[in-house]
Structure formats: C-alpha cells, structure tokens
C-alpha cells in the first residue's frame, strides 16, 4: 500500500493544493497528516477543510495546539506569535471544531506517527541530531516513526548494533532489522534551502520511501499573506526555503 505523509502545511493553501495534485498522480491509497495545519500562512480555514476532506489520519502540531488556545504563544518567536494571534482571530468555528478532533499520535501497521520528537510528543521538542534521535527511538515500539515539526526532511536510522546514523533524504529502502525516524518535511514552509513543497511517499510493501518536492504558486501564497498583513519575514522566507 502506498501512503502519502504530509506535515507542516502552515496555512499555505497553494502548496497544499499542489501537493494534493501530485499525490493524485502517484498511485497513493491513503494520505496521513502529521500536524501544523495552521500558523504562518494566510489560509488556515481552507487548509483545515482540505486536510479533513483528504487525509484519513490527522495529527495536531504545536501551532494547531496554540491556535486552539490550549497553550499560550509566549514561547513562540515574535513573528510566529503575531501570525498565530492572527490565526486565532481568523479561524472559523467549524475549523476549531475540526482541529479539536486531531490526535497527538497514531499508529498504522509497523508505523508510528507524531508531530514532534517521539520522546514526549506533547512537549513539542525538536529532533535535530543523532542524540535526540537516540532518545526518541526508546519511546516507540514500531520499526518506523514519522514526524514533522522541524520542516527539514531527514532520516535517522538505528542499526541492529544500537548505533545511530543519518540517511540522506530522497528515495531509499529500509534495511531489515533497522529502525527509522523519518521527517517528512514541510508542505507549506520548507526550511532546508529548497522552496518547493515537500512530502513523503511510503510504500508499505518493502518499506520504500521517497521525499518528493513539488513546485507551487509561491507568489499567490505570498500575495495573500501580504493582504493579511502577516509579518514580511514570514513572506520572504518562503522564496528561499529557509
């Protein structure tokens, strides 16, 4: 079975739409969403609606959690805070109701899904290095964990001898008896230097994975953000993918 795993849409409807069109062409049966539907971008309601229409499994991200008023935005940087306060004002009642049904974690076959580091999902920690991954591997029993949060596609592997390594994102096939934490990248705000939307296709037959990059109408997304008077830095960073 082929799955599409998408994360960190961040209210970028142009990027999400382009990714969904790409998924349509990839013989995918199910789409799972790994969190952060909102924050930063100008289309929170449209993105939540599309995610609910097309994704079978939906997880909360830290921006969604703050948008629901379940945590305050004080630990966000100033621009993230400004955008999430705008999001709170912009969210329709129906969008809040939909977000209120997103989960914190999920499993499917030998796969485990959560938004942030699996070490403690509700703490929203980042997983940036091998030592973070080493702790993360201790907290789930499945062979594969899929996350988002950092907006940087990446793969950590735990070899049978317990050592941790890094696999370059792209296309790869899992090795037997190895365990993996795979960051699927960000649809709506990539930060790995590539401005194109990013997501992952997982083939459960043989555990083959592919990070895909999808161009989208970046100018249209930026124009909407300017109209909404969102912080300029958040608008320009989309162009550089940083």
């Amino acid at each position: 079975m082929r799955l599409a795993l998408i994360s960190d849409v961040h209210a970028n409807l142009e990027a999400l739409t382009a990714v969904m069109h790409d998924i349509e062409t990839r013989n995918v049966e199910r789409v799972f969403f790994l969190g952060d539907a909102v924050g930063y971008g100008a289309d929170p309601n449209g993105c939540i609606r599309l995610i609910c229409d097309l994704c079978e499994m939906r997880l909360l991200g830290n921006h969604d959690y703050v948008a629901l008023g379940l945590d305050n935005a004080d630990h966000f940087n100033l621009m993230a805070k400004e955008s999430i306060l705008w999001t709170q004002k912009t969210l329709a009642r129906k969008s809040i109701e939909r977000l209120a049904d997103f989960e914190m974690e999920a499993t499917f076959l030998d796969y485990y899904f959560t938004h942030a580091s699996p070490e403690n999902p509700a703490d929203w920690n980042y997983l940036f290095a091998e030592q973070d991954a080493a702790r993360g591997f201790e907290r789930f029993s499945q062979s594969f964990c899929f996350i988002g949060h950092s907006h940087i596609p990446g793969v950590y592997v735990r070899r049978p001898d317990g050592s941790i390594g890094i696999v370059l994102p792209g296309s790869f096939e899992a090795k037997p008896d190895h365990r993996y934490i795979i960051n699927v990248g960000s649809v709506g705000q990539p930060r790995d230097g590539n401005a194109q939307a990013c997501y992952l296709i997982a083939d459960t037959d043989g555990n083959k994975f592919e990070h895909r990059r999808v161009p989208y109408d970046l100018a249209a997304a930026q124009k909407k953000m300017r109209t909404a008077q969102l912080p300029e830095y958040l608008i320009t960073r989309l162009s550089s993918g940083q």
């Binding site: 379940l70 209120a100 989960e103 999902p121």
Partner: protein
C-alpha cells in the same frame, strides 16, 4: 404578609412568610433566619417592618450585607430586592407570591424544601476538598475516570482523546471537546468540539464563566465544578 425567599447557591431552600415586626438573620440558632455559612456573622442583620415599609439593617457584620449587589448598612427594601449574605441570597417581597401549606411558628411560616441540610453539608465537603487541593477542583459525577481533578493549569482540556487532561465519554464528542481556561480569579468553560455536546447546568454552552457547584456535562460524562475561595 411579607415573604422572604432564601436561596443557597441559586437554589431555593426556604420560603418565609412573616407577621413579625422584626426578623433577625445570622449564623446562630437564636435568629429567626439561620444561615449556616462561615461568611455569615452570628448576628448578621435584621429586617424591621413598620407600616407598609421594610428596612434591612446590617449589624456591622464582618462580610457585609448587600442589596442588589451593593453593600449597605441600612436600606429601605423594595419589592423583589435581593439581599446577599455570605453564600445566601434572600429575595424580598412585600406580599406572599405563592401561598402554600405551611407550619406556623410564632407568626412566621417556614416552608422548608428539606434540601437545606443536604446543600449545606455538600458545601462543607466541597470546601474541604478545595482546601486540601489548594485550588478549584472538578469532581467526577458520572461516566468519568476521575473522582477529583485539580484545576491547577491555565488550560485544562476535556474530551475523549487520550492526551486530554480529563477524559469524557459519549457518542460523537470530539477529541478535545472543551477546555477550562483560568483568567485571573475566574474559570471559563469553552466548547471547542461539536456543538451541543458541552452543557452547564443542563444548558448548551459555547463559553461561560463557571460558578461554584456548576454541573458540567461533556457528552455522557458529568462533573461538578468546585471553586476555590
């Protein structure tokens, strides 16, 4: 004949119809109206009747006597005025609104609902719980895994998801159906999930300030909110 309707936490517990010229109110048994609550002084206040008028006089009580939420020392009562003393409210009427079967005692008819002792006892137990918890508490009543949950965070989530603070049961309720938000001294219940699945005292709510003893229903689960202080 004048009538005084006594309520405790918004529930009618007694109706008093009196022919007396003077009705005393306080915590001790020798008062005409006995209000068992720590916020009530032993000889808290009295109502004096003369001709067609009635005047409430506060006996320099510690926590004060209020008429329509305004603290008073001496105040002419008008029909339907609400006197607040501690957790009790006394609704004043110049004439009996609902004459009823009654017992006669020194010219004063007392129509007890028999709930008073139970209400006061419940209140005493709840005070003990919040004092022990050091803050407001949700008491689990029906279909809930929690017996007692302390509201000690800025936001407390209620719903059927595994990760919420207080789990609730019910068909078609959301993962996070509702939240309790602390704002200063007050707590607010906000519905986030499906409409109609969050109720307070039987009424569907979107956002409401919680009062002590409110019954919160989320899906099939119900809780009593016990406010600290």
């Amino acid at each position: 004949m004048p009538e005084i309707v006594i309520k405790f936490n918004d529930k009618v517990i007694e109706r008093i119809v009196t022919e007396k010229k003077r009705v005393t109110i306080g915590r001790t048994k020798d008062n005409d109206i006995v209000l068992e609550n720590r916020g009530v002084s032993r000889k808290h206040a009295q109502i004096e009747f003369a001709d067609e008028s009635a005047v409430i006089i506060d006996n320099e009580s510690l926590n004060g006597t209020f008429v329509n939420n305004r603290r008073v020392s001496e105040e002419l009562l008008r029909d339907s005025d609400v006197i607040t003393i501690g957790k009790y409210s006394l609704e004043f009427h110049h004439e009996v609104k609902k004459p009823d079967a009654s017992t006669q005692m020194d010219g004063t008819m007392i129509l007890k609902t028999k709930q008073q002792k139970q209400l006061v006892e419940t209140d005493r137990m709840e005070r003990e719980i919040v004092t022990r918890a050091g803050g407001s508490v949700l008491l689990g009543l029906e279909n809930t895994e929690v017996a007692e949950f302390r509201i000690d965070r800025d936001v407390t989530t209620i719903g059927k998801a595994k990760f919420v603070h207080v789990r609730a049961r019910g068909f078609m309720i959301s993962g996070i159906q509702a939240k309790i938000v602390r704002e200063g001294e007050h707590s607010f219940l906000v519905n986030l999930g499906r409409k109609g699945k969050t109720r307070v005292n039987g009424e569907v709510v979107d956002r409401i300030q919680l009062k002590n003893s409110d019954i919160i229903q989320v899906g099939k689960s119900s809780f009593r909110f016990v406010e600290a202080g």
